[in-house]
């Protein structure tokens, strides 16, 4: 039975959620500065990992792979931590992010090119998630692909073009022994069309604004026909950097 996307359990949250911090350490993170909280996040993550009820604990993250002032990583390291990195054409990311951020495509491109880009980071207010350092699109990708842990690279375009083999590889990386039938059922349950239907009928609580759609289009190639030539040029340059890193063999990618 497919999970209702609006009923994801309270104990299965994004890595930057403040909730586990408060539960595990016993006080609200709102009493600390962003830097103080960041120093404690690895401790919280280690407790989440250690005490998870099943052998595999999967959490999503928007953070780039960065390091704390003492040199330790914010997001864990191998062998206890591993990552699946979903890489998408930055031009398509820009168009999608523009909708989510309520910005123009040009503004989204500008953000994707910034090395100092963060989200959930406004003076005078607080969010359910910690401030997330994203860096530029290329720096974000390279930071994870070179993180000190096993990394499985999933290309968004491959998820569209060859869903079964793409998700089968992800399952194998995670050590999950699922049949092709099971994988296909899961792909159908999480299909964009199904999620769009749910959002149309009852809404989706992670939508950025009541009037916006979280599951917008889910297509590939939209950026190339939407963005201006100069914007595309900037993003292709970022994409080239990432592809060069992947081709160089200097990443931690385990295919």
């Amino acid at each position: 039975m497919p999970i209702d996307p609006n009923q994801i359990p309270l104990n299965n949250l994004i890595a930057s959620a403040r909730g586990p911090f408060q539960e595990i350490l016993g006080f609200p993170s709102s009493l600390l500065t962003d830097d103080e909280s960041a120093n404690l996040r690895p401790i919280v993550d280690e407790v989440v990992r250690r005490d998870w009820s099943s052998p595999l604990c999967i959490r999503k993250s928007h953070d780039a792979y960065t390091y704390l002032p003492d040199g330790s990583p914010l997001m864990g390291r191998g062998p206890n931590f591993a990552a699946i990195y979903i890489l998408r054409n930055p031009a398509d990311v820009a168009v999608s992010a523009a909708s989510h951020w309520d910005k123009t495509p040009s503004e989204a491109v500008e953000r994707l090119c910034r090395s100092d880009f963060k989200v959930n980071n406004k003076d005078g207010e607080i969010f359910v998630q910690f401030s997330e350092t994203l860096l530029s699109w290329a720096e974000h990708a390279i930071s994870w692909l070179k993180a000190p842990m096993d990394v499985h690279l999933m290309r968004y375009e491959s998820m569209h073009a060859e869903p079964l083999s793409t998700f089968r590889s992800a399952c194998e990386f995670l050590g999950l022994n699922h049949s092709d039938v099971q994988i296909e059922v899961a792909i159908e349950a999480s299909s964009f069309s199904r999620l769009q239907k749910v959002e149309r009928e009852v809404g989706f609580r992670e939508a950025a604004r009541p009037e916006s759609r979280f599951f917008r289009k889910g297509v590939t190639g939209e950026g190339a026909v939407t963005l201006a030539h100069e914007e595309l040029r900037k993003l292709w340059a970022l994409s080239d950097l990432v592809e060069q890193e992947i081709a160089s063999g200097s990443t931690q990618i385990r295919i």
Binding site: N6, L10, N11, L13, A17, R18, G19, F21, Q22, E23, I24, L25, G26, F27, P28, S29, S30, L31, T33, I43, V44, E46, V47, K122, D123, G124, E125, I126, F127, V128, V202, G203, R205, E206, P210, E211
Partner: protein, 296 residues
Amino acid sequence: MSHSYLYCGLVIESDESMPELQHATADQRPQIAISRGLVEIPRDQDLYAGPNWVIGQLEAFWWLKGVACFHIRADRIVVDSKSNSDPGLVRALLLEGPMIMAMIYRGEFCLRAAAVSDGSRAIAICGMASGGKSTAAAFAVTRGQRLVSDNLLRITFSENCTPLAWPQGNGALLWPRSIALLGLDEVPSQCVRKELSLRRVHLPCQSAPVPLEEMHLLRRHSQIPLQLPVPFQARSARQTFGNIGLLTAGRLWVDQARRTHEHFIWSHSLASKCRMQEASNELIFRGHGSLRKRTM
């Protein structure tokens, strides 16, 4: 000089001033004593250790590295803070983990929830950390309700098994954007610590315990006011029971403090008396008339 205060309906006696709290009356006997002293974290193998806490059946230790350590029992908390620690932060921390632990040792439990009351009944507002509970409660107060709790709602049961919500008694912790949105700029408030713009706002409070009638689960972080309603859903008693377990303050410590049975009874009683409902800001404030701000 000794000071007596009320916190979550319990009388605490402190050597030092705690301006966050309301004073208890002279006839109210202290239940938890707060004092300063040296605290050493034990390395006892029989104690259950977490990242910043150690807990046993009768006593616990809780700390924030570089700021303060606390030794906690059911009737006493010893505070050992660093000389350069911000006193406001130390007090704010004392009112969190250490007090939660002390209450658990007393067989008392709290929800991580804000709550408001019209004087005759209370509504608890549960949800994700920093998810807008305090702001939602403050919004209700600007429309005539009274604040019962900001983030810790102690619940006990009357003789006829009615759940009672106890005033937390330390105002509402709000960020400047919420204060501005709600027009609370002129309401007395104090800085929590100088590094943060977070403020403790002294809103009109409920003074006595009041029956808890509803629990609302805020499932999204909403701007005020919402443009579209979120569908209303009542959770089953089983789902409510599960959420109460997850939303209990200090839930990771209950078993180690050997209060599992009491917590089960408490959770079951609460779930059977008070169903949890999905809510949006609009639903919480249903029945409060126009959304135009009223003068407090």
